[in-house]
C-alpha cells in the first residue's frame, strides 16, 4: 500500500518539514515539504533511509553486564528494562531525594516533555546541550533586550546585508534560512563573513575577513567605533527605545578601526569600507548574533557587540531586519496545550540560580554539574538520564566527566544510536528513528506562526519505542500519571488541540496549520513593552550584570598565542554530518568517513608535510592522541588547526566510525572548568594542542 505523510526531519536539530512516501511499510521517497521548501532536502535528510535500515543501532533495550564502558550487554524486554529504570529511580528517590536525578536532552520543541517528566519526579535538574551551543548568545540577548536568543528572528530574505561572525550557515544547513540568504544574494544583497578560516559560507560572501582566532569582539568594537563616528545609526530609535548609548560612545572611543585591524590581522581600509557599506544598507543590515558562540572567554561580549550593532542599525521589528517571533495569541487565536509541570522549588545541582544568580535558570548549565557532583554540593547526584544527548561527545574532556558519572548509581541513555555516553551507561533504551515515531504537536513561532508535528511514516523496524511512549511508560510506573494522563498519542493530540478548535484533519493538506495569512508585525511605536528589561528599554548597560560583578562594556583583551609546537584547536561543521550523530550512517560515512586537520601552509612547510600526509594531534597533557590526514591551505589562520566536530568515536558496534578521525572533545583536557563566567558557555576554542608530523608516514615497505 502506498502512503504519503508530512512530518519533521530528525537527522539534525533544525527539524526541516518533510514529506515521506512509503509502500508496504518501506520508505520510497523523502523530500522537503513542497509547501515550505519546494522539495529541497540535504544529504542528511535523504540519508534518513539509511539510518532506518542501519543494523548498527540498538535494536532492543540493552542492560550492561560488564564494567562501565566495556561494551558487554544483554538484551532485555521493554517491560524488564522499564521496570529496571523505574525501580532504580524509585530507590534513589527514596534514599537521596528526587533532586539527585539529572535529565539532559537536546534543546528544541520537544524538551518540554522531558522537563515535565523530571519535574514531576521531583527534581529541578533538567539540563540540555546549550552550554556548548547558544547560552552565551542567549544571555547576551537577555542582558540587552530582556528576551532570550529566540526572542528575535531574522528576515534575511528582505535584508540588504547579512553579517556573520563565524556562523558557517551553508555547512550548518537550515534549509529555509539558506534559501533566504541565497535569495537575498540573488537580489543583489551583500554577505560579510568573518572567520578564522574560509568556509562554504565564506565562498558566497561579498566580503571576507579572515581574523586571528579570538578577535571577533575586537572587530565588532572597531565597527561600532566607526559606525558611531560616521553617524550611521538610527538616532530616533535610540532615543525612543535605548539606554546607555553615551556610555557606549565613551567606551568605544579607543577602539578605532586601525586598532581593530591590528588585533584581528585584517586591513583598516577594509573595516572602513565595510562600515561605508552598512552605512548605505542600513537599516536593513542584520548582524547575526551567533548560533553556537560557546567559543572564547569573551564570546558573550562578542555576541553583545553584535546585538548592539543591530540596535544601532535600528533594524528591529521591520521587513529586512530583526523581528519578534509571533505565536497564536498575536494572531488572535488560542494556543495549543502542552505537557507541563512546575519546577520543584529546590536548589539546582549545577549552582545556577544560587551560586550563579545571574544566569537564567531554564535548563541551567550542564557542564557545571560535574564539579558539584564531585563535591556532592548541594547534594549528591545519583542518576543521569541522557535523552538523545551525548554529554561525552558534546562537552570537553569525557574522562573528567566519567569521574563524576562514576558517583552515579544509574546512567540511562535513551537514543536512536549508540552514543559515547550510551556506551558507558548502565542501560540503553532504544528510541525509534524519526521516520518510525510520532510526537506531540508544537507551535513554531515566526512572522507567520504554525502548528506542526512529527508523524510516523513506517512501523518500527526493530523493537524500539517513541520517546513519548518511553516517558509515559516510566511515568506510569513511577506514579506520575497526573502529568502523563494519556495512553495513546491520539489522546494527547486531541487534548492539545482542544482549545484551538483545530483537529488533526487540518494538518492533512500541508502537514501544518498556519495561524496567520500574512506576516504579523507589531506596531513599531509600541515596541517598548516587548523588551523585558528592568527599564523596559533596550539596555546597552545592564544593571543586572553590574550587580553580578560583570562589566556591560568589557575592555578587549588580546587572545593568547599558542606556544611552540602547539596550535589553537578550532572545530566546526560540515554539510554532510550532524556532529557525532551521523558519522556512522552508511551513506554519510561514504561521503565523509573521517575528519582531517586543516593547517596553514606556513606551518605545514615547517613540519615538512603536504596535504594528505598524517598529522598527530595530542592533548596538552598528552593523554589523548589521534592521527589524521592534513589538509594544507592558506585559508586557515596560522595560529589555528581546524577539524570537523563529532569524530574520534570509540564504539565498536559502530564499525564505520570506530576510531575514525580525531575527537575535538577528547583533546580538551581540563576544559570543563574553562567557561565564560559572564555568559555561561563553555570556551570550546580556548584549547591548544600539540601538532606534529606523524611517524606513521613511513614510506618503507616491510610486508611481502
Amino acid at each position: 500500500m502506498k502512503k504519503s505523510v508530512y512530518s519533521i526531519c530528525g537527522m539534525c536539530t533544525v527539524r526541516c518539514p518533510i514529506r515521506v512516501e512509503s509502500e508496504d511499510n518501506k520508505i520510497t521517497w523523502i523530500e522537503g515539504n513542497p509547501h515550505l521548501l519546494g522539495g529541497a532536502l540535504c544529504a542528511k535528510g535523504t540519508a534518513g533511509i539509511a539510518l532506518l535500515n542501519d543494523d548498527e543501532r540498538p535494536q532492543q533495550p540493552l542492560i550492561r553486564v560488564g564494567a562501565r564502558g566495556a561494551g558487554r550487554w544483554r538484551e532485555a524486554s521493554w517491560d524488564e528494562a522499564l521496570d529496571y529504570v523505574a525501580g532504580k529511580l524509585a530507590a534513589i528517590k527514596e534514599q537521596y531525594g528526587p533532586e539527585s536525578v539529572v535529565l539532559s536532552s537536546r534543546g528544541g520543541p520537544w524538551q518540554q516533555m522531558y522537563k515535565a517528566f523530571i519535574h514531576a519526579f521531583g527534581s529541578p535538574n533538567y539540563t540540555n546541550h546549550d552550554c556548548t551551543c547558544g547560552r552565551n548568545t542567549h544571555h547576551a540577548s537577555l542582558s540587552i533586550n530582556g528576551v532570550g536568543r529566540k526572542g528575535f528572528a531574522y528576515d534575511i530574505k528582505n535584508a540588504k546585508h547579512l553579517v556573520l561572525f563565524g556562523r558557517d550557515m551553508f555547512s550548518a544547513l537550515r534549509i529555509a534560512e539558506n534559501h533566504q540568504t541565497l535569495d537575498m544574494l540573488d537580489k543583489g544583497g551583500r554577505l560579510t563573513y568573518v572567520d578564522v578560516r574560509q568556509t562554504t559560507t565564506g565562498t558566497k560572501a561579498t566580503r571576507f575577513f579572515q581574523v586571528r582566532p579570538g578577535t571577533d569582539y575586537a572587530l565588532a568594537l572597531g565597527v561600532i567605533h566607526q559606525v558611531i563616528k560616521k553617524g550611521y545609526y538610527d538616532k530616533d530609535f535610540l532615543e525612543q527605545f535605548v539606554t546607555g548609548f553615551d556610555e557606549l560612545c565613551t567606551f568605544v572611543e579607543e577602539y578605532t578601526p586601525a586598532w581593530a585591524a591590528k588585533e584581528c590581522g585584517v586591513k583598516e581600509k577594509d573595516i572602513i569600507a565595510f562600515v561605508e557599506e552598512i552605512g548605505a544598507d542600513r537599516p536593513n543590515v542584520i548582524f547575526h548574533p551567533g548560533w553556537n558562540l560557546a567559543r572564547y572567554s569573551d564570546s558573550f561580549y562578542a555576541s553583545r557587540a553584535m546585538h548592539i550593532l543591530n540596535v544601532l542599525m535600528g533594524n528591529i521589528e521591520m521587513k529586512g531586519g530583526l523581528f519578534i517571533p509571533k505565536g497564536a495569541g498575536d494572531c488572535g487565536k488560542k494556543g495549543i496545550r502542552s505537557i507541563d509541570c512546575a519546577k520543584p522549588d529546590i536548589k539546582r545541582g549545577d549552582g545556577v540560580g544560587w551560586e550563579y544568580p545571574h544566569f537564567e535558570k531554564g535548563p541551567g548549565l550542564a557542564h557545571l554539574f560535574f564539579k558539584h557532583m564531585m563535591s556532592e554540593d548541594p547534594y549528591p547526584i545519583k542518576a543521569w538520564i541522557a535523552m538523545r544527548h551525548d554529554p561525552f561527545s558534546g562537552m570537553p574532556d569525557p574522562e573528567q566527566q566519567k569521574l563524576a558519572m562514576d558517583k552515579c548509581d544509574l546512567l540511562v541513555s535513551i537514543d536512536t544510536n549508540y552514543s559515547e555516553f550510551g556506551w558507558y551507561s548502565d542501560i540503553i533504551l532504544p528510541e525509534s528513528t524519526y521516520l518510525e515515531r510520532d510526537n506531540f504537536i508544537v507551535q513554531q513561532k515566526g512572522l507567520k506562526p504554525r502548528l506542526a508535528l512529527r508523524r510516523r511514516a513506517v512501523d518500527p523496524k526493530y523493537d524500539t519505542k517513541a520517546s513519548w511512549e518511553i516517558f509515559t511508560a516510566l511515568a506510569h510506573r513511577l506514579g506520575l500519571e497526573e502529568t502523563f494522563p494519556f495512553k495513546t498519542i491520539e489522546e494527547l493530540w486531541a487534548w492539545q488541540l482542544e482549545p484551538t478548535g483545530y483537529t488533526m484533519a487540518d494538518f492533512e493538506e500541508k502537514g501544518y496549520v498556519e495561524l496567520a495569512d500574512s506576516p504579523v508585525f507589531y506596531d513599531r511605536e509600541k515596541l517598548a513593552s516587548q523588551f523585558k528589561t528592568p527599564s523596559g528599554k533596550i539596555e546597552l548597560v545592564s544593571e543586572k550584570l553590574t550587580k553580578a560583578g560583570f562589566p556591560s562594556l568589557k575592555p578587549f583583551e588580546s587572545p593568547q598565542a599558542p606556544e611552540k609546537g602547539m596550535l589553537r584547536l578550532i572545530s566546526g561543521k560540515v554539510a554532510v554530518h550532524t556532529q557525532g550523530h551521523t558519522i556512522n550512517n552508511p551513506l554519510l560515512s561514504e561521503l565523509m568517513p573521517t575528519n582531517t586537520a586543516w593547517i596553514h601552509s606556513k606551518n605545514a612547510k615547517k613540519l615538512g608535510i603536504e596535504s594528505g600526509d598524517l598529522l598527530e594531534l595530542s592533548s596538552a597533557d598528552k593523554s589523548y592522541h589521534a592521527t589524521v590526514a592534513a589538509h594544507v591551505t592558506d585559508h586557515v589562520h596560522p595560529e589555528a588547526v581546524f577539524t570537523a566536530h563529532g569524530f574520534g568515536k570509540e564504539i565498536p558496534r559502530q564499525t564505520r566510525s570506530f576510531l575514525a578521525g580525531v575527537s575535538d572533545q577528547k583533546l580538551m583536557i581540563g576544559k570543563l572548568d574553562d567557561w565564560d563566567q559572564a555568559g555561561g558557555g563553555v570556551n570550546l576554542c580556548q584549547v591548544f594542542v600539540y601538532v606534529k608530523k606523524s611517524i606513521r608516514n613511513t614510506k618503507r615497505r616491510i610486508a611481502l
Binding site: G39, A40, L41, F170, G202, T203
Partner: protein, 150 residues
C-alpha cells in the same frame, strides 16, 4: 522532440553533496556507486574572497553515445528523446560500456554486478516529475532544461 539537460546555477550551489545522495537513494544503490558528482576546485582569491568553482557532472546523454554500440546484449539504449539508459533485464555486467565511455560514466552495482548510470530519472520524467537530484537540491541550484529539438 525534447532533449534534456541539467544546469547547475553555481551561484546558488553550496557543494552540500545532497544531490549525490538524493540520486543514489532514489535508485536504491548501496554504498559504492554514485551516478552524479559535485566537485569544487581548490580555493582561490577572487576579489578579496577565497572562492571555489563548483561543477555538477553526470552522464552526458551523448547524441552519438559510444557506450550504446559496444553493448553485446543491446542493454544500453538511446531513447527517442536522447536519454541513454540501461535495460537492467538485459545487462550482463560486462562493463564494456564503461570502457567505451570517454568519462567512464557507467559504474557497477555491487548488489547485482550490473552496470548503472544516470537515466535522467526517466521513470519520474515520464510521470511528470523532476529527476531526484533536481527535485531535492538543497538550494534549488539544479535545474532541468528541456530543449525542443525539431
Amino acid at each position: 522532440m525534447k532533449k534534456y539537460m541539467i544546469h547547475l546555477n553555481s551561484k546558488r550551489c553550496i557543494a552540500c553533496h545532497g544531490c549525490e545522495v538524493h540520486c543514489k537513494v532514489n535508485k536504491n544503490l548501496p554504498v559504492g556507486p554514485f551516478l552524479c558528482d559535485i566537485s569544487s576546485t581548490p580555493l582561490k582569491m577572487i576579489g578579496g574572497v577565497p572562492r571555489t568553482e563548483i561543477t555538477f557532472s553526470t552522464c552526458r546523454h551523448c547524441d552519438d553515445p559510444l557506450c550504446v554500440p559496444v553493448c553485446p546484449t543491446n542493454a544500453m539504449i538511446q531513447r527517442a528523446d536522447g536519454i541513454v539508459y540501461i535495460d537492467q533485464e538485459k545487462c550482463i555486467g560486462c562493463m564494456a560500456c564503461q570502457k567505451a565511455c570517454p568519462w567512464s560514466i557507467p559504474v557497477q552495482n555491487p548488489d547485482d554486478g550490473k552496470a548503472v548510470k544516470c537515466d535522467f530519472c526517466m521513470d519520474r520524467l515520464d510521470a511528470g516529475l523532476k529527476p531526484a537530484c533536481i527535485a531535492k537540491c538543497t538550494t534549488h541550484a539544479l535545474q532541468l532544461v528541456a530543449l525542443e529539438v525539431v
